[in-house]
Amino acid sequence: MSPAGASGRLELHIKQKSYRAVAGGGRLHVLGELSIALDKGQVAALVGPSGCGKTTLLRIVTGLDHDFEGTVSLPVNCKLGVVFQEPRLLPWRTVEENIRLIAPQASAQSLETLFATLGLAEHRQHYPGALSLGQARRVALARAFAVEPDFLILDEPFVSLDAALADRLRGELSELVFRRPVTTLIVTHNIEEAIGLADRVFLLSSSPAHVLADVPIEHPRKPRSADEIAVMANKIRGFADSAH
């Protein structure tokens, strides 16, 4: 039993998840038995090979997919902030309207700060069609933070961006999470990214996914040298190799 007032705690127990295969009538086994629990304010990264079911897992956590065996417990009325792989903005609304429609309670002051942090100040009145992918991703990030979520979920938020921009956005994300601590689940296939952002790394196997290792990161989100990151990354990769 989680104590009363522990809002923001996530508990996920999945027995299995499968899809009906398109051809042949069999079932495609995507997720195996896996359990993940996050305390309030924890930032966890899910790392695994592509196609291992990470996005499926997020769809279950966000309540978009109910067709699975197992349980998800999120606090009642918990506010979600979700950054999908694609920005998913409303193309017929400006950047600012996109955020205000989703977060009508956000104060002008907090939006101002958010736009400034993410370098979007001069794009407020632009339509999403006029933005680059990197800018649109930042708007999606701003939208997720503007709702002041209890629980933040990011699905490969920096994939297919150039390295320098992805680094900057990672820095901005760390800063936002530092400023307003929020339980966070980040999906990525980039181990270095996971080490840089999270305080716990869940290493997933290939499909049907289960948890290979749950690695705590000491002193998370502190600047580290490339060598330190490489040592941690090798340690985590070691878990994946020993599983084979």
Partner: protein, 248 residues
Amino acid sequence: MKSLLHLGSILLLLLTWIIGSHVIGARLLPEPSAVALALVDEARSGALMFNLSATLLRVFAAFAIAMVLGTVIGLLMGRNAIFDWLADPWLIVLLNLPALVIIVLAYIWAGLTDTAAIAAVALNKLPVTIVTIREGARALDPTLDEMATVYRMNSAARLLYVILPQLAPYLVATARAGLSLVWKIVLIVEMLGRPNGVGFEIGAAFQLFDVTRILAYALAFTVVMLAIEALLVQPLERHVSRWRLRPA
């Protein structure tokens, strides 16, 4: 450049008309000037305004009913498979029922009234609207839907900001095609069972073989509908597509 071409095209139409009038005779095809004179006469007597407004009221009533009902039903059919299967046979029957059958039955069942006239026209337009909006509802972006779900948008906001903007091109297409279909059917309905309106006047002129009056009313009404297209439909279309990037 564009307006110059339009002007040239209209002049060419007038010229063809004048030559045609000389070739087949003024009784069958009166000259533009004769039609213009007849138009002025009708306008002076007040008959033109009276008949035009009677017809326009019927057009807008039938159009509004068909658009609202068609959008609601089309959206339901596009989003809900069970409702789609249930309603599809009805839709196909309605789509393939000849306009004349609907009009005659409406007059028989509801009497020679404006209610029957407007209902008959709306029923003719309704299935076309449903089919178009259903296609639009099937093409709705599921990723935006999921976004609205995880951010708990309420259903009013969802309809207004997520669904209707995606349906806008389908709504404009069906509105445009619908307006022209509706006014043509309104004229037939008026000719068959109403004592006023452009359709009634054309019917009367047909009995007297008065081609000049037929053309005068047809012309007047076409001009009104063109004005509606230019002043109402096109600005609306520009407004709903303002966010699209213009091709350079």
